[in-house]
């Protein structure tokens, strides 16, 4: 078959619009999801058993099921339960925020645990009160340690966001599929869509590697 990538030039505006929707959705869910993830990560180390069980259930549920079904559940079921209409964007944002919260909470939890026993000994030997131990020693190290994995989580979310096309939200993937169907040029259009995702995600994964190396070196002291 003949490939003709020039067909794409007519649709640059539409693709840009789709990318803009993808970007907005991803950024919003990164901010909200990371905040939830941080709180849930803390709650999972809490003294309260109820809090631990509740947050563990949330995390395991969202990590143990396909994101697609989470999305469908929020999209089809939440409006029935709440009795209000939800826009496509709102459903997508809720589902992806909850997903992001679950995966980042694991990141925060393991980085909190990685702050070693010896650091705690040093805190005691210096007479630091609990509040200072948490605020000045544990949290800053946990956040530094979490940084590369958090960036990976953001990349995952960016990729998973393409699922919202399945519930009709006009993101990059949805618009790409529409163009592909209308022009009957799936190879050109879908390849272009894949390349757009790649061009954004690839440099970020390189950045993760670099940051990881620097953090590990710094925290190795």
């Amino acid at each position: 078959m003949e490939l003709d990538f020039s067909v794409l030039w007519k649709f640059t505006d539409a693709l840009a619009l789709g990318l803009w929707t993808t970007a907005r959705l991803t950024l919003l869910c990164i901010v909200l999801g990371t905040a939830i993830g941080f709180l849930v990560g803390l709650a999972r180390t809490s003294e309260s058993r109820l809090l631990r069980v509740a947050t563990a259930t949330y995390v395991e549920f969202f990590r143990g099921t396909p994101v697609l079904i989470q999305l469908f559940w929020i999209f089809f079921c939440l409006p029935l339960i709440l009795g209000v209409e939800l826009s496509n964007f709102a459903s997508g944002a809720i589902a992806l925020t909850l997903y992001m919260g679950a995966i980042t909470s694991e990141t925060f939890r393991s980085s909190l645990r990685a702050v070693g026993r010896e650091q705690m000994d040093a805190c005691v030997a210096l007479g630091l009160p609990r509040r200072v131990q948490v605020a000045n020693v544990i949290l800053p190290q946990a956040v530094l340690r979490a940084a590369p994995t958090l960036l990976s989580n953001c990349i995952s979310l960016f990729k998973e966001s393409a699922l919202v096309s399945a519930v009709g939200m006009a993101d990059l993937m949805f618009i790409g599929q529409n163009i592909s169907n209308n022009t009957a040029r799936p190879v050109e259009v879908l390849t272009a869509v894949a390349l757009i995702y790649f061009v954004i995600a690839f440099p970020l994964t390189r950045a993760v590697t670099l940051i990881e190396r620097r953090m590990l070196k710094k925290l190795a002291a």
């Binding site: 559940w73 339960i81 009795g83 592909s180 879908l190 894949a194 995600a201």
Partner: protein, 222 residues
């Protein structure tokens, strides 16, 4: 809410859901077979000194890791028949799409673990007079493969979850049957919840097992 739960709508229709689950499990197992074997081959290519072998393998891995799985699946279903003029049944297509995706992720796991074998072990192998092939076979690989098992399992269960994507291109897996049932019965809450629990019932034990394995390794490494 003006919606009364009727779990019977789902329990009366478990048959199709189980059929879907069977397809999902088939897809997962077949994709994992591809991923575990081909992933190792690709990892060796990525580590090759010869750039003619290395660069295409790296590109393959990075491309699959840096694009959404749904884009890969849709691309595969639409473009492979057009480009190569081959027409396979949807399940085979699904297996190939998921298998290639998993191959890329597993290759990365193998590569990382091969490179994580300490240089001292290679030195010790040289000091003991082992040939390069013997060093790879008897020192590097056994350690790297064992270290890779938890990640391979995690990736494998990830593919189990990702396999829901093939419902979008019409493969009649668990997700597909669930969506069909939800539409036919107008019972989305019950149906999607049960379908989600199906997925969870398989993912959760595996992820717990991986966690247990990693904790045990952590203790052994101390």
């Amino acid at each position: 809410m003006d919606y009364s739960l009727d779990i019977g709508a789902v329990t009366r229709n478990l048959g199709p859901l189980f059929e879907g689950l069977l397809v999902t499990v088939e897809l997962t197992v077949a994709a994992n077979l591809i991923g575990i074997v081909a992933g190792f081959g690709v990892a060796l290519l990525v580590l090759a000194r010869n750039p003619v072998l290395r660069l295409p393998a790296m590109l393959f891995v990075e491309f699959f890791r840096c694009t959404p799985a749904i884009v890969q699946v849709v691309w595969f279903f639409y473009c492979v028949p057009m480009l190569f003029n081959v027409f396979l049944d949807p399940i085979t297509m699904g297996v190939l799409a998921l298998g290639l995706n998993l191959t890329a992720f597993n290759a990365e796991a193998y590569r990382a673990n091969i490179q994580a074998v300490p240089g001292e072990h290679r030195d010790a192998g040289i000091a003991l007079g082992l040939s390069p092939a013997q060093r790879v076979l008897h020192i590097i690989l056994p350690q790297a493969l064992r270290a890779s098992v938890p990640v391979l399992l995690t990736n494998g269960i990830g593919t189990f979850q990702q396999s829901a994507l093939v419902a979008i291109v019409g493969v009649q897996d668990l997700m597909y049957q669930g969506k069909l049932l939800a539409t036919e019965t107008y019972r989305p809450i019950e149906t999607f919840t049960v379908v989600a629990l199906f997925y969870l019932a398989i993912s959760f034990p595996v992820s717990q097992f991986v966690g247990w394995m990693e904790r045990r390794r952590g203790i052994a490494a101390r």
